[in-house]
């Protein structure tokens, strides 16, 4: 395993700037998840580290060596693309032993490593099968074993779970973390799914339009996002415009659409601000039973999602609010009813008003 440093890396394809002046350090043995919408440059980033793309400017440093001009086979990275790219004409075993074979390892050690990796992903009894005979989840595990058997310093995973069924994704992502932790390789995992990022990452790097918006632990980014986009990408948010007045104890007093609210997170902004609160942080209560600060509204939309219920509440001047309380809590809510949306002060985030307008600031496609 090794540390990976990207030093002011830029890459353009014609007029499209895929990576802009990227500065990123991935620590030794870290599991970093690069999170962002489609087209944000995540795959370009991965391919640049792998050596499949040469940056227009900047350096890539792996384990202290400047690898910017080195071909992929000399960098000591293992790359797993979205489609897995398993060698269709080789068996599972041959796929797993591919890397040590081409690197010239002696047979005994090669077999030992392949056996260890295939056992770890629980595919050892399918070693003689061909990829086309395997199910989706098994193919993914085979690709993973092949990458791990490369004994690389850095593991690069491009949306490794995307091709799988939704439920299988949930099951395999728990496994994925355990496997890679066991081997201890520095890992860069790219995804657009924020739940996946939260479960797997030691740190998360948020990318948008080729730019690195923020890097930090899940707790840090979740509680103290640097921008409205990052906040919204990491967990559905409702935004509304407000005027903030400072008060002595550090909390901000907000006036928004006829309601007064307190916000304790990131006090320090005054004047016109963009306030936001995560849908999952809100709770609902019957209109006459106020259990905290908040606003009243009419439920316009109700979707049952299992553990939670997704509501859209028309809060009058505050606009539509997205509320996702736990089902246990909000079972009684029906479409068309009036509810009181509880907005705890520690969960209200404040941002400066974005210049180009709110929807442009949050756009994903």
């Amino acid at each position: 395993m090794a540390e990976v440093v990207l030093d002011r890396v830029s890459k353009s394809f014609g007029s499209k700037r895929a990576l802009r002046d990227m500065d990123l350090t991935i620590r030794n043995g870290e599991y970093l998840v690069v999170l962002g919408p489609s087209g944000a440059g995540k795959t370009t980033l991965l391919r640049t580290i792998a050596g499949l793309l040469a940056p227009d400017r900047g350096r890539v440093v792996i384990g202290g060596r400047d690898v910017t001009r080195m071909p992929p086979d000399a960098r000591g990275v293992a790359y797993m693309p979205q489609t897995y790219a398993l060698f269709e004409r080789m068996t599972v075993w041959e796929n797993a032993t591919f890397s040590p074979t081409v690197k010239g390892w002696p047979k005994e050690q090669r077999d030992l490593l392949a056996r260890e990796m295939l056992s770890m992903v629980r595919l050892i009894d399918r070693a003689e099968a061909y990829p086309r005979e395997l199910s989706g989840g098994m193919q993914q595990r085979c690709a993973l074993a092949r990458a791990l058997a490369a004994d690389a310093e850095v593991l690069l995973l491009d949306e490794p779970l995307r091709a799988l069924d939704a439920r299988l994704r949930i099951e395999l992502r728990n496994e994925l973390r355990g496997l890679i932790q066991h081997v201890g390789t520095t890992t860069v995992h790219v995804t657009h799914d924020q739940e996946e990022a939260l479960i797997l990452a030691d740190r998360i790097a948020v990318l948008r339009g080729g730019q690195l918006l923020e890097v930090g632990t899940a707790e840090d980014i979740y509680a103290r996002p640097s921008s409205a986009f990052v906040a919204n990408f990491l967990g559905e948010m409702s935004f509304f415009e407000a005027t903030a007045f400072p008060s002595e104890d550090g909390t901000a007093r907000l006036a928004a659409g006829g309601t007064n609210l307190l916000a304790s997170a990131r006090a320090g902004l005054t004047g016109r601000v963009l306030a936001g609160i995560r849908a999952e942080s809100c709770r609902v209560a019957p209109p006459d039973w106020r259990a905290g600060q908040g606003v009243e509204g009419v439920v316009r939309r109700r979707l049952f999602m299992g553990r939670r219920i997704s509501l859209e509440v028309d809060a009058g001047e505050l606009g539509p609010l997205k509320v996702k309380p736990l089902t246990a809590q909000a079972r009684w809510v029906r479409e068309g009813e009036r509810v009181f949306v509880v907005m705890p002060e520690e969960d209200i985030l404040l941002f400066p008003m974005p210049a180009g307008g709110v929807s442009a600031a949050l756009e994903v496609e």
Binding site: M80, F98, K103, W105, L113, E116
Partner: protein, 572 residues
């Protein structure tokens, strides 16, 4: 964050892997993988293509331009000049007519093969391809036997139709048999690639099967149709053996009626005694090359952009045509066409063997011809493989996309240019270079390399384009150098396509008459042997027998080729 929890064996392994491997293999690998080695290799391949294939093919154009005076002198001679326009008309007119007929009849047949599943489908596919096993000279004989009116054949087997002795018609009927399998194969290949879900989407929106096919599937077909058309035109234009035998048998040659390749073939035979024919030969060849290049451009770049009007929809009528009995009628019609116009005429010569009195067969000469054919074909195919596959890789995976695209377009030239004309050009190019080209057989081999080269390249390019580049990229990141990526990942994946390409190249070489004859009057390959038997010796029985023997030999050769490549796979 977890500490690296690997077992001690893994750690020792890691250390072992850090020390570079030794031995001559590793050193060789390192040398071959350097950037300069790769560049030299690719440079050599491109140079080979340009100087051994492309330049010789187009040389005659320059020759004619340079020696215009002699050409003018020839054109002044009405006996020779008058033959040329009619020859060009017969060549190109027939080729275009045949292409149109092939498309019309081939489409329903291709549809049948791809969209329907029936037992014995692989046998049916082999049946459709079977005329390819017969040499064009043999097909010329067989077609005239079935359709033609000929004073030269004294005994016609029962079932002969005696339709016509018009050169145009007979050539059309002949080339239906030489080209139809190519058209069906091309169309079927594209149809397979079009996802049937598009038709399903159209039908779900209310379109009958016919409407869905013509408004959705057919427009998506277009670029594929161009490939099929090119293949067919190339084959029809190139044929010499078939034209020579057919035109001789119906007496067209006696009437001084030739098509382009027959003209070249005949004049080349006479050029030994009449040196004035040399510039005439060059002129006709140059003309044919030019016209076929124009055809190439038209088909590839113009036809694809043509917009077929499909504004009006007649739901009731189209629904009616989509339902019984019309699809069955269509299928029966396609099958009938296949049998009556393709299969029976192709193999009718077998009936001749059954009814005609046997004659003495010079087996020695036959086996000698087979030996020459196989030598030339084998060596040419081997050279094609060694140079064509790297060129294909350069075209599809090379760093300069524009170079790749240019090369891809240029590879089509030796393919569409009539091989007889190509032969003339080649012999002019190498003619004086007796040091490099010591003997006629070597020159013939060069010629065969030129027109079989595209088969291997195009098949390899097709297969490479279908591969997910991510597979090779992943292999590189796993530590494989480019040579290793080729050997372990690329080659196994494209091997079936390369095998198909080599078989096509080999059989094309086996069946070639025009180029061989244009380059050397003394080398006797099997097709030339058969043509001579028909046009000079007039021993039709021996010709038919030789053709039958060749059928078996080709079949055995293809089987052998398949076996060899399959066994290497099992070992490697």
């Amino acid at each position: 964050m977890a500490a690296p929890a690997s077992s001690p064996e893994v750690n020792t392994r890691r250390e072992a892997a850090r020390t570079p491997s030794s031995g001559w293999r590793a050193t060789l690998l390192r040398i071959v993988s350097t950037r300069w080695s790769l560049r030299a290799w690719y440079g050599g391949i491109v140079a080979f293509f340009l100087f051994m294939v492309l330049l010789p093919t187009l040389f005659v154009l320059g020759y004619v331009a340079a020696d215009w005076a002699s050409v003018k002198a020839v054109l002044g001679d009405p006996a020779k000049a008058s033959l040329i326009p009619h020859a060009l008309w017969l060549s190109f007119g027939v080729a275009l007519t045949v292409a149109a007929l092939d498309l019309l009849a081939g489409l329903p047949l291709a549809w049948l093969i791809v969209r329907h599943d029936f037992r014995g489908k692989s046998w049916f596919n082999t049946l459709v391809d079977s005329p390819l096993a017969v040499t064009t000279a043999g097909l010329g004989f067989s077609v005239v036997l079935f359709w033609g009116v000929s004073s030269k054949i004294t005994l016609f087997p029962p079932g002969a139709v005696h339709l016509t002795d018009s050169a145009f018609l007979i050539l059309v009927l002949l080339h239906l048999t030489t080209t139809f399998p190519y058209m069906v194969r091309s169309l079927a290949a594209i149809l397979e690639e079009i996802d049937v879900e598009y038709e399903n989407a159209a039908r779900a929106a209310g379109a009958s099967r016919l409407t869905a096919a013509r408004t959705i599937t057919l427009p998506m077909f277009r670029s594929g149709m161009a490939t099929g058309l090119l293949l067919v035109l190339a084959k029809a234009l190139s044929d010499t053996g078939g034209a020579l035998t057919a035109l001789t048998l119906i007496g067209a040659v006696d009437r001084n009626e030739f098509n382009g390749t027959a003209l070249i073939g005949t004049w080349k035979g006479l050029a030994g005694s009449d040196p004035a024919l040399q510039p005439a030969l060059a002129f006709v060849s140059a003309l044919m090359i030019l016209l076929s290049l124009v055809l190439l451009v038209v088909v590839k770049y113009v036809a694809v952009r043509l917009k077929v009007p499909l504004r009006r929809v007649r739901p009731r009528l189209e629904r009616k045509l989509s339902g019984p009995p019309y699809p069955r009628l269509r299928n029966v019609g396609a099958m009938a066409f296949l049998v009556v116009f393709i299969l029976v005429p192709s193999f009718f010569f077998l009936t001749f063997l059954a009814v005609a009195p046997p004659s003495d067969v010079n087996w020695g000469r036959f086996w000698n011809a087979v030996g020459v054919s196989f030598l030339v074909g084998g060596v040419a195919t081997a050279i094609d493989l060694a140079t064509g596959v790297p060129l294909a890789i350069l075209i599809t995976r090379g760093r300069f996309r524009r170079l790749g695209k240019a090369l891809d377009a240029l590879v089509n030239i030796p393919y569409i240019v009539p091989s007889a004309a190509l032969g003339i050009s080649l012999s002019l190019f190498w003619g004086s270079q007796r040091t490099i080209v010591p003997s006629d057989v070597v020159l013939v081999t060069f010629a065969h390399v030129a027109f079989t080269f595209p088969f291997v390249v195009r098949n390899a390019v097709g297969a490479l384009e279908q591969l997910d580049p991510a597979t090779e990229e992943t292999a590189r990141t796993l530590g494989a150098r480019p040579v290793q990526v080729f050997r372990r990942v690329l080659f196994p994946a494209i091997r079936p396509a390369i095998l198909a390409g080599s078989i096509m190249a080999f059989t094309r070489s086996l069946g070639e008459t025009g180029a061989t004859q244009a380059v050397s009057t003394t080398t006797e390959t099997v097709p030339i042997y058969i043509v001579n038997l028909i046009t000079q010796t007039k021993d039709y029985y021996q010709a038919a027998l030789a053709q039958l023997a060749l059928l078996f030999v080709s079949f055995a050769a293809i089987l052998f080729l398949r076996l060899v490549l399959e066994r290497r796979r099992a070992r490697g």
